[in-house]
Amino acid sequence: MIALATEVPPGDVERLRAQFPALCRRVNGHLLAYLDNAASAQQPAAVIDAIADYSRNHHSNVHRGVHTLSQEATALYEGARGKVRGFINAASEREIIFVRGTTEAINLVANTLGRTRLQPGDEIVISWLEHHANIVPWQLLCEQTGARLRVVPIDRRGVVDFDAYRALLGPRTKIVSLAHVSNALGTVLPIGEFIAEARDRGIATVVDGAQAVPHQRIDVQALGCDFYAFSGHKMYGPTGIGVLYGREAVLATLPPWQGGGDMILTVSFERTTYNSLPWRFEAGTPNIAGAVGLGAAIDWLAEVGMERIAAHEAELLAYATARLLTIPGLTIIGTAPDKASLVSFTVDGIHPHDLGTVLDAEGVAVRTGHHCAMPVMEFFDLPATARTSFALYNTRAEIEQLHAALTRAIGMLR
């Protein structure tokens, strides 16, 4: 067992847990062991309260009225943008675009950068690990432009083949779009190295950071990517709000995507002029409450400390891996040396869906299915896996609860 000097003491975790109302409830007569954080993490009271405070006291439309509530709503909304900038160390708030989530962020890039830069025969490079949200927007773009999608292979551990990636980059490669962390397997890519290879060749780089942002400090300037996308609900914030970071030099060259509302300066029937960055990409009244909640989540994360989170999650990953491997017939899918705090697995003779139902009856929430990464499942010739994914508030006791529930499932079904 890895014992880290920075490990969060148990009492400390209990104090943090107490801030999450959902973690205090019972499910099917058991204490809830919430181990589906890679899908959505729970929200601390600080986030819930910030959203409620906005809704109770400041709710109004942004960038519009001269009245007090509108000014307060605008200040809260733009304040959240400032928090996001600091959180990922973007150079400017003009580079922070609020979107519904990672999926919308990638679609935005595909529909702006993609449609203006691609010619028939050009190539977009992704990896075998991608979530469907980082596959399908590019497939749609390929259909529209005649570009081709190229896929970097992975090995049996779930590691993306860096040499194959380098070999795939050619004169026709215009966009590279990669997951920073695989949602299905947990593989962490050395994303900086992947970005550097593409940048050296003048290729635009997009990073799906949905699974990375909750677990490690992200510095988009250090990474050097052109775009970095992530979602609020995986980082202790609400659903329906996410962020597209875009390097200003690139964003400034892009046409708008959706039209209407905030993205406009002036409209006449002859000509419309567009707003400046970042609002040019925020058509319509935005998810103000969501942005406020995301801002609160960022404050909360800053208070806890990303290094502390990473250390605790690394300890949970090591503990869970060791404990799960004691279960006869259990196979861990995804064994990359650098993994985020999640374990995908199968149990001989029991379908993941049956595991999921038995675990739920024991109060243990895991994800079962293809994790919106069907090519990954295909690669391992599996219809589905069960996936347990950890957050700051998870404990060894919950991993023991998972272990006991799996043992019960095997007793019942095998």
């Binding site: 379908h351 993941p352 869906h353 049956d354 139902t357 079962t368 299915g369 219809p383 589905a384 079904l413």
Partner: protein, 147 residues
């Protein structure tokens, strides 16, 4: 919510040892069914003549509920007229979806699936084989999907 009500002995048995497993070499009817949520895939092949379902095989991969349901279905429909099969489908559908339905005597062992309705996420697992059977009888070329 009682797991023992879902994974009854009959279901566990039919999952471990599915009946009428495989594929008929020259079926008169055949269809494929998918449950995208679970990744379940099922192929149902039939031998139908003179309005009677004379033989059936089910092949695929799926969870315990889906595997057991296909196995139980294959036993229940084999040798029955298409009218009787349609009647059974109606009763199974009723049992899986309606809360107060009491499984009728015709259902026999299929009644073991009545616990599934307490687990809404799993109803599709139990109904996939029946929808696939219907598609095969209707001569549908496109695979059926539970989504």
């Amino acid at each position: 919510m009682d797991l023992a009500d879902l994974y009854r002995d009959v279901i566990v048995d039919h999952n471990r040892n599915p009946r009428n497993r495989g594929r008929l070499p020259q079926p008169s009817h055949s269809a494929e069914g998918n449950n995208p949520l679970c990744g379940d895939q099922l192929r149902v092949t039939l031998e139908v003549s003179d309005g009677v379902l004379r033989d059936i095989r089910c092949e695929g991969r799926g969870c315990a509920i889906s595997t057991a349901s296909a196995s139980l279905m294959s036993e229940a429909v084999k040798g029955h007229s298409l009218a009787e099969v349609a009647g059974l489908f109606g009763q199974v559908h009723q049992m899986l979806t309606s809360h107060d339905a009491v499984p009728g005597p015709d259902l026999g062992k299929l009644a073991a699936l009545s616990g599934v309705r307490e687990f809404p996420a799993r109803v599709k697992c139990a109904s996939l084989c029946w929808h696939t059977l219907n598609a095969a009888l209707a001569g549908d070329a496109a695979p059926v999907s539970t989504e």
